[in-house]
Symmetry: C2
Amino acid sequence: MEKVAVIGIGLTKFGELWESSFSQLFVEAGTKAIEDAGIDGKDIDAIFVGNMSGGRFIEQEHISSLIADYAGLTPLPSTRVEAACASGGLAIRHGIMGILSGFYDIVVVGGVEKMTDVLTERTTQILATAAEQEWEANLGMTFPGLYAMMARRHMHKYGTTREQLAMVSVKNHRNAVHNPYAQFRFEISVDKVLNSPMVADPLRLLDCSPISDGAACIILASKEKAKEFVDNPIYIIGSGQASSSISLHGREKLTVMDSTVNAAREAYKRAKIEPKQIKVAEVHDCFTIAEILAIEGLGFFKVGEGGKATEEGETEIGGKVSVNTSGGLKAKGHPVGATGVAQAVEITLQLRGEAEKRQVDADFGLSHNVGGSGGTAVVHIFSK
Amino acid sequence: MEKVAVIGIGLTKFGELWESSFSQLFVEAGTKAIEDAGIDGKDIDAIFVGNMSGGRFIEQEHISSLIADYAGLTPLPSTRVEAACASGGLAIRHGIMGILSGFYDIVVVGGVEKMTDVLTERTTQILATAAEQEWEANLGMTFPGLYAMMARRHMHKYGTTREQLAMVSVKNHRNAVHNPYAQFRFEISVDKVLNSPMVADPLRLLDCSPISDGAACIILASKEKAKEFVDNPIYIIGSGQASSSISLHGREKLTVMDSTVNAAREAYKRAKIEPKQIKVAEVHDCFTIAEILAIEGLGFFKVGEGGKATEEGETEIGGKVSVNTSGGLKAKGHPVGATGVAQAVEITLQLRGEAEKRQVDADFGLSHNVGGSGGTAVVHIFSK
């Protein structure tokens, strides 16, 4: 594919942001991204926004119009895309298509979710709408339960240990300490994970990403247009998207997330690079097991060896591939619609050399965003 | 823009389809479209689906994955787009971009909504999520109320009469008699409209489109690929999309829907044709006043003259421009996410010469889909 440039990035802090409304969050992230790019509203051709469930979290559908309105960007075309927690990644892909189709030169791609304005029990119910109602959610399955089954099977089949799962969380918390936008900027220990309250055996509280509010935004431009505005564009050189059975029972294996494998294959092919060339990656660690499945599915490690690689420090900053330098969903926070776009923000910072104490030496970076238990996966590959 | 071909179409009946699930509806429409195009699943590259509120109507988000799964089309990329009642039109636009970006050759574009599985009061609440919660819905505004204000202002400013509004409904019911997929296949009279129960003054029950279940699907292909499969492709030669203030109070005028005007301008420009060349149009008549605003905003008639044009029969089948030959939202039914795609199905039938007793002589057709009270509008222009 022809490459597309990231010319601006913006983030809000992630966390329990009771003082900010949904509209304020995306306007904050969007304004930062527009300022970062040094563009004006009149330079923008369209808006894409990833949002999982405005309809249920804040009783507001049609947020494409709301966003254009509050950002002062009407009458620009504004589109919401949704694939549960992969909504942000999907918004990026469709922003790219908007540019490569010739319809647009510069687009704003945002992701936003306001999750803490409802009670926690209700949040769990809302998140369960990303699983199949008929065969999973209505029978009482929630996401910790679904990922717990994947974890249990991975442990059984490959000898992945409970401690290795915990090490994912420990690493991501350690990285988040240096990320000013992260929800949890403190270190934890393996012991602390193993002694945290049980959520769905074998997953404990500190294996699970939190409920968060937040927004993220990037400005995409055609490679010709990018040069008019910035000296340091980062390019998206590959994009992949795949679907899978929405329910776990429809998958061939619990230990391989085939949507990740298929999306990664497309992205590597479009980018014309190999997994081993990726030195920094933001992957979808909604639960610790999810990061293990991700680093295997993306081809960084062989299937079954993700736990061992984590234990051996290969995913630490400066390891074979630095994974979730931002703190990941676990420690940076997981406002579901924003996550995929926030991943792109971190990779852009890394490739610009602006990641400060989290900085990695990399020519290529990757973002990996999952919807539900793997019904959707989106992968993007970035280069300097 | 480069033209894109419609090579297959499929519809379910619209109505209260209690015997069909959400999944069954889109599989039925999709299967018909795939058969109509004479393609196989393996020819398809991606799925786009318009759906307004699966999250609230059937407690299911992530329907992109559900649809790929139930249609047997995993691991294809599958994307839901949403802009309230304009979701279907938006799905078409993004399917076009997917093709013109070079990512895909053939895509399935569907729209689906299952609205009758919740109580009617709840449906009204859910539909109100397309309006701004903070300034409209939370204060008790519902859609009949919003459109009633537009109607009242149009009547005051231009002398549009209560009877003229009724004539929109009478015409659309007359057209629906000949549409086997329509929800209401019976004629009504102006008297009957004027004596139907008041909903929001001046709009009465028979000014309002119904609550419906249904799905629609079209298959889009690049113009090169289309020729491999069909002899009679219909082309989409123009696409326009615009946003506006989500709330009525943010608009300059109540009597001109600026999103329609802006989306139409883009579509005509891309298609390189004039409004007067359009001989058949499906427009967004969620309420009778909406059709008047549409035919003015699309440039078929001068602002303020839509009511008179309707009274004089200029929008009847065979008139200056045949509007809503399918029966429109009013009589064909309005499963919100499906509507924009169903409009494309009708225009394709017309340009193929397959509209039977509704047939119009036309070289160009147009579809016009609105989200909310006009926060989003999408326009597509079709040619033989």
